[in-house]
């Protein structure tokens, strides 16, 4: 029994990592209505910036603040320079641009920092909290706490601020939004900036566990997509719940379902994506899009 509970705890730890990136995916989807395939690579790049600061002797927390600020500006810049020219183009075009951005950011990071792995300081203490034979790492608790905090902030932003309202209007119908006086361009840029910031938090959370290198977020992104699809692409609560469910399901399947084992573990999120798309396309917590006839 303790072994089973331990697997659940580890699954939640992995799920929290997926959820952290899924939050960034949800954020940008809510703002702009597109899926950003480069989200993981942008997070990785931001993590390198944080690493560069700490390597230069900047204290961790100051480096964190600087990195988040830079990520926000960088995200807005990307929207202005790369995405703006294809604004209004079919969704597929924008998606292809983000895929191109994925490849570019990955190559740029390799070019600047090489592909050698780097260790990243862990903001949480080492060791584990123990109760009844159950080990819960402090870093797992820390990640869960940060993810919960970000989720709460996003929920407040979406539901209880004017920016959130304006951004929902822009995502729903850019033209009407412009007509009622919302600055659509700035709203979109704000969305990219905020998503880049949330992504940076995700990268900085996972780097101490996965080790920093340019392909660090590649695997995480797949699981984050599964999490966002499961929870609903427009719901921060859903993204976190989805991430945790994916993490636990994957861990349990790997440990207890004989034929899955570690070999097929990576198939679990794919099965989840497929199942959700078939049965409940809007996700567990998402809202179905209703079009007026």
């Amino acid at each position: 029994m303790v072994g089973f509970l331990q697997q659940i705890v580890e699954g939640l730890g992995a799920g929290a990592i997926y959820a952290s990136l899924a939050l960034a995916l949800v954020l940008i989807y809510r703002f702009t209505g597109i899926v950003n395939f480069a989200q993981g690579e942008m997070a990785m790049f931001a993590t390198y910036i944080a690493w560069q600061f700490t390597a230069a002797g900047v204290p961790f927390w100051l480096a964190l603040v600087l990195t988040l600020a830079l990520s926000f500006v960088g995200g807005m810049l990307i929207e202005r320079v790369v995405i703006r020219p294809v604004e209004g183009a079919p969704e597929l075009t924008v998606v292809i641009v983000t895929v191109g951005l994925f490849i570019f950011v990955n190559a740029a990071a390799g070019w600047i920092w090489t592909f050698l792995i780097k260790d990243f300081p862990n903001p949480f203490p080492a060791g584990a909290f123990e109760a009844g034979g159950l080990h819960v790492g402090y870093s797992t608790l820390g990640i869960l706490a940060v993810v919960g905090l970000v989720m709460g902030l996003l929920y407040l932003l979406f539901q209880h601020t004017r920016i959130g309202l304006g951004m929902r209007a822009v995502a729903a119908n850019p033209e009407s939004a412009r007509l009622v006086g919302i600055r659509v361009g700035w709203t979109l840029a704000l969305g990219w900036g905020l998503a880049a910031t949330v992504g940076a938090v995700s990268g900085i959370l996972v780097a101490p566990l996965l080790f920093l290198e340019p392909n660090m977020m590649g695997g995480v992104l797949i699981y984050a997509f599964a999490a966002a699809t499961l929870g609903g692409f427009d719901s921060p609560v859903g993204a976190v719940a989805g991430g945790l469910i994916v993490g636990v399901a994957e861990t349990l399947a790997g440990a207890y379902v004989g034929f899955v084992g570690s070999d097929l573990k990576v198939g679990v999120p794919l099965v989840i994506i497929l199942g959700v798309l078939l049965l409940r396309p809007q996700g567990l917590f998402g809202r179905a899009v209703v079009e007026r006839a």
Partner: protein, 424 residues
């Protein structure tokens, strides 16, 4: 109707022209043959005063750390050209191409090297995927593909590709070294294995299982991972539940670091940690923290430039001096440079021993190496090949991580002597 018939004729004529053009080129290639005792053998890329070699390495992309290898090779050839009058009077020209660790690009570069650059031989392709992608081509064209930089056992056991040969100890030989060590030190070890789910992992794990057959050693748990997995932490957790007393870590660098870190974090499970050579680089251990990897065991076969043991070794002194002279931008303490130096001097010996200065001569020479000593290899490690032995190096020595570097221990283990030929 008339028009289309005309078109057909034109197309046929064009095809014929193309065919004759190709045929003509083929004949030109075949015309470059030797006379005398080596009559009829290919001499493309080799003259009385020069020899042209082509190498394909990932100079860019995720595996670009290996791009340091050709720097060591170039330094060696520059030194031999300038101070030793080349290899038997022939100055070596070494053309390096970048495949970014992508097999399709490796094929393209192999074609360019063979057909446009007209190289004598491909001296190293790096990585199992790139070598697998190119070896059908090199063998069809009868171009030697010498000392490929990958440890897959297939280069030595395959019979259909006589023009391709490996160099470094293959993964099966490496697995045998660990098996031998455990047989002596922990005859009833319970082993947990973490391995990469591809040919590399299968080769090493399969070799290990075969090598422990009939002994008291058991594999009690195995967990595989995919290169696309974010982390091997879940696998390490499952392995820890096995309570094995030895962990065999068969991984590539990033996952090697993750597994070492996971082992260090788990204070309740303290197995003897054996990490394979692929992930035994200092660049893998350093991010984990040297204090966390003390006592980890691995194996090697060439001299580590960082080991003070070789500080006054003549070959190491020569290597450091010549690297400073011919590759001043490269850091000689990076082991990949020493690897390049070692493999280049191995080529030097194989080429020198060739009876004919032809492609056929090199092919036969690389399969007829007898106790060839290469000074950058560990003392006691020599190159041996034969008609039924396509594995130049099959001996390795164990090492343990102490302080901030690896320390060799025990004797060199000749796996062919201990276990017989690979694949039997």
């Amino acid at each position: 109707m008339r028009v289309s018939a005309l078109g057909c004729t034109a197309v046929t004529a064009l095809l014929l022209l193309a065919a004759t053009a190709c045929g003509g080129r083929e004949e030109n290639g075949a015309a470059a043959t030797a006379t005398g005792a080596c009559q009829g053998q290919q001499t493309t890329g080799i003259t009385a005063t020069g020899i042209k070699l082509g190498g394909i390495y990932p100079l860019s992309g995720p595996a670009s750390a290996y791009g340091d290898i050709p720097k060591g090779i170039k330094a060696y050839f520059d030194y031999v050209n300038a101070e030793k009058n080349g290899i038997g009077g022939r100055k070596v020209e070494f053309v390096v191409r970048d495949d970014g660790y992508q097999p399709p690009k490796a094929v393209e570069e192999a074609r360019r090297l063979v057909e446009q650059e007209q190289v004598f031989a491909l001296f190293q392709t790096l990585g199992t995927p790139s070598t697998t992608a190119t070896w059908d081509y090199t063998n069809q064209r009868k171009v030697p593909q010498v000392f490929v930089a990958t440890g897959a056992s297939v280069w030595g056991s395959d019979k259909a590709h006589p023009w391709t040969i490996g160099w470094q100890p293959n993964y099966i030989s490496e697995a045998r070294v660990y098996a031998q060590y455990l047989k002596e030190e922990r005859p009833d070890a319970k082993v947990a294995v973490l391995y990469q789910n591809d040919d590399f992992g299968d080769d090493l794990l399969g070799g290990f299982k075969k090598a422990i057959e009939g002994s008291g050693i058991q594999v009690v748990a195995e967990q595989s991972y995919e290169v696309s997995d974010p982390s091997v932490d879940p696998q390490m957790r499952n392995l820890a539940q096995s309570d094995a007393d030895v962990l065999l870590n068969v991984t590539t660098p990033k996952f090697g670091s993750q597994a070492l870190a996971a082992d260090a974090r788990n204070t309740g499970w303290n197995p003897l940690h054996i990490v394979n050579n692929v992930a035994a680089s200092i660049t893998v251990l350093q991010p984990v923290g040297f204090e966390n990897v003390q006592g980890v065991v691995s194996s090697t076969y060439y001299k580590d430039p960082n080991d003070p043991k070789w500080a006054s070794d003549p070959e190491m002194t020569l290597y450091k001096a010549k690297m400073g002279q011919y590759a001043p931008d490269a850091d000689p303490s990076i082991p990949y440079h020493a690897f390049g130096w070692a493999v280049a001097s191995s080529f030097h010996k194989a080429m020198e021993a060739a009876k004919c200065p032809t492609r056929e001569g090199l092919r036969d020479s690389m399969r007829n190496l007898q106790n060839v000593q290469v000074d950058m290899l560990l003392p006691g490690v020599t190159m041996n090949t034969g008609a039924d032995d396509g594995f130049p190096i099959e001996s390795m020595q164990l090492m343990e991580f102490k302080g901030e570097r690896w320390e060799l221990f025990g004797d060199v283990i000749d796996t062919r002597q201990e276990f017989g030929p690979v694949g039997e």
